[in-house]
Amino acid sequence: MQWLTVFNKELLESWRNFKWIWVPLVFILLAITDPLTTYYLPQILEATGGLPEGATFEMPEPPPSEVFMMSVSQLNLIGVLIIVLITMGTISGERKSGVAELILVKPIAYHSYVTAKWAAYALLIWISTFTALLASWYYVNLLFGEVSAGSFLRTFFFYGLWMTLILSISIFMNTLSKTAGLVLFFTITLVIALNLLSSVFAHVVKWSPSLISSHLRNTLISGELSSALWGSAGTAVLFIILLLASAAYTLKHKEIS
């Protein structure tokens, strides 16, 4: 009941400040850029002056799954930044401005407050990711060749999980700092550190959540779900639960403003 109240309020807020419009749009834009530019590269080169006389340029046609993965990596770069940007003030901002003082003296459980906010943003992110990957999948099928519906859905699901983990890190950082800029900094630093560590120790730790996209690439090529992918997904879920629990705990035991 109270959970739904906060959840609805978050959805309404995101709607009123147009997040429900621009976030999906930007995601779609990010996702379709690579398939389109890759396909039209010869024409683009032609239009911008072409190649020097005598030079021949043979473009290897990339496999469809490879192009689809390009969209995912594009989202991985800028999409992650957008997620942190839209969520960096969700709790910290309310604490800083003092709204949290009014909200948290009402008899609402701290975990409801945290998870309802999280869920509202998760919904936005899942829907944005879905439409983005759907658009990319459409163009890849149109321009390069078939990627199966199963592969598309699998990519969406596992990649959504990784995005949700980013969201959870941001929510947790929100309870640590009242300054939105610091939330951004800590979250991005943690994500980069996670990426670095797991690529350095990739041969040892196969289940790091940041390996999800590289596991996905293998899955797309081989067409089979590897145990490493499931492992990474499992760790991601575990991390998400831990982060949310710690966020609720921190908020409860910290000075609210």
């Binding site: 109270q2 109240t5 309020k9 807020e13 400040n17 003092g98 709204v99 003082e101 009402k106 008899p107």
Partner: protein
């Protein structure tokens, strides 16, 4: 209905609230007085559960149980709202967070909007509200779930005289329904609308009780004099008298603090007659809240200096 036991809050080395204890009984209007920085806000916020005390506890008595936040309404000193919401939306949101159904919350919101006098602007975004409207909305949101205890942090200090009057009248009305604890440093307000006061200074409660009992206890009798000319010359003469403890000049008025009111009155009047003082006013009065406030604060300030 609510008991505060040995509540303390320490920030680094600063004891913002230092071991305070008191009990609030139902149906009273209690003013939490003190100069700026006395720890009033910190105390209120601990009671509201917004910050956790370093030691001590806040307890509800018998009939009220469970989450303390269900039974209290709180208005911070500078309330902030989701400015993208309308006033009515915010009240309904607050009501639903306090376990009202959607329908109850809506009807209660309309009722309160009328009561605090912002019904006409209920569908306007809060970002367009004036300071006074926000303060009223703040009071309305604190009342949305009919709390047994209403805590207001400096409810009138940011308002213009008209807004101040309205809020004080509203508090007068609310007294009948709920216990009110409010902090203020405006002594007139406290004198006018509270039954009891708690006087805080440097984190401690230095005085508490009903206004009249406090006045009785601190009955330093006082005689105020006004003259046609400046009062300095007379204050020196009066200082030598054995019934006079001290004199104080406030602009045109000379306040003479005495030990025995009846005898002092006779002596001073006799002196005035004999020396033909150009008296304008001769007033025998008891200590006001302001005097008490200054006295307590100053006596502590002196004690600090001696240490």
């Amino acid at each position: 209905m609510i008991t505060v036991q040995n509540l303390s809050k320490v920030y680094q080395n600063n004891r913002a609230v230092d071991d305070i204890s008191f009990t609030l009984s139902s149906g009273k209007c209690i003013a939490l007085l003190g100069p700026n920085g006395a720890g009033k806000t910190t105390a209120l916020r601990m009671m509201a559960g917004l910050i956790s005390p370093t030691s001590g506890k806040v307890e509800l008595l018998e009939e009220h149980s469970g989450d303390i936040r269900r039974h209290i309404g709180y208005l911070p000193q500078h309330p902030h709202f989701h400015s993208w919401m309308t006033g009515r939306e915010f009240l309904i949101y607050a009501g639903k967070l306090a376990y009202l159904s959607k329908k109850e919350a809506a009807s209660r919101a309309d009722q309160l909007l009328t009561r605090v006098g912002i019904f006409e602007v209920r569908n306007r975004r809060i970002s367009k509200y004036s300071g006074g409207m926000k303060q009223r909305l703040g009071i309305a949101q604190a009342l949305i779930h009919k709390p047994e205890l209403l805590m207001l942090d400096e409810p009138v200090s940011a308002l213009d005289p008209i807004g101040r009057r309205d809020v004080l009248d509203l508090m007068e009305e609310l007294k009948k329904e709920t216990t009110i604890l409010y902090s203020t440093h405006i002594l007139n307000d406290a004198e006018e609308s509270s039954d009891e006061i708690l006087l805080m200074h440097e984190g401690k409660i230095v005085e508490s009780g009903s206004l009249s009992s406090l006045k009785d206890r601190h009955q330093v009798d006082k005689i105020s004099l006004q003259f046609e000319d400046s009062p300095e010359a007379y204050s020196q003469k009066l200082d030598h008298l054995d019934v006079v403890t001290r004199t104080e000049i406030k602009k045109e008025t000379l306040d003479v603090y005495v030990t025995d009111q009846a005898r002092a009155r006779e002596i001073i009047l006799n002196l005035a007659l004999k020396e033909h003082w150009p008296l304008l006013q001769f007033e025998v009065g008891r200590i006001t809240l302001e005097d008490l406030f200054m006295k307590v604060v100053q006596s502590y300030a002196v004690a600090d200096r001696i240490q």
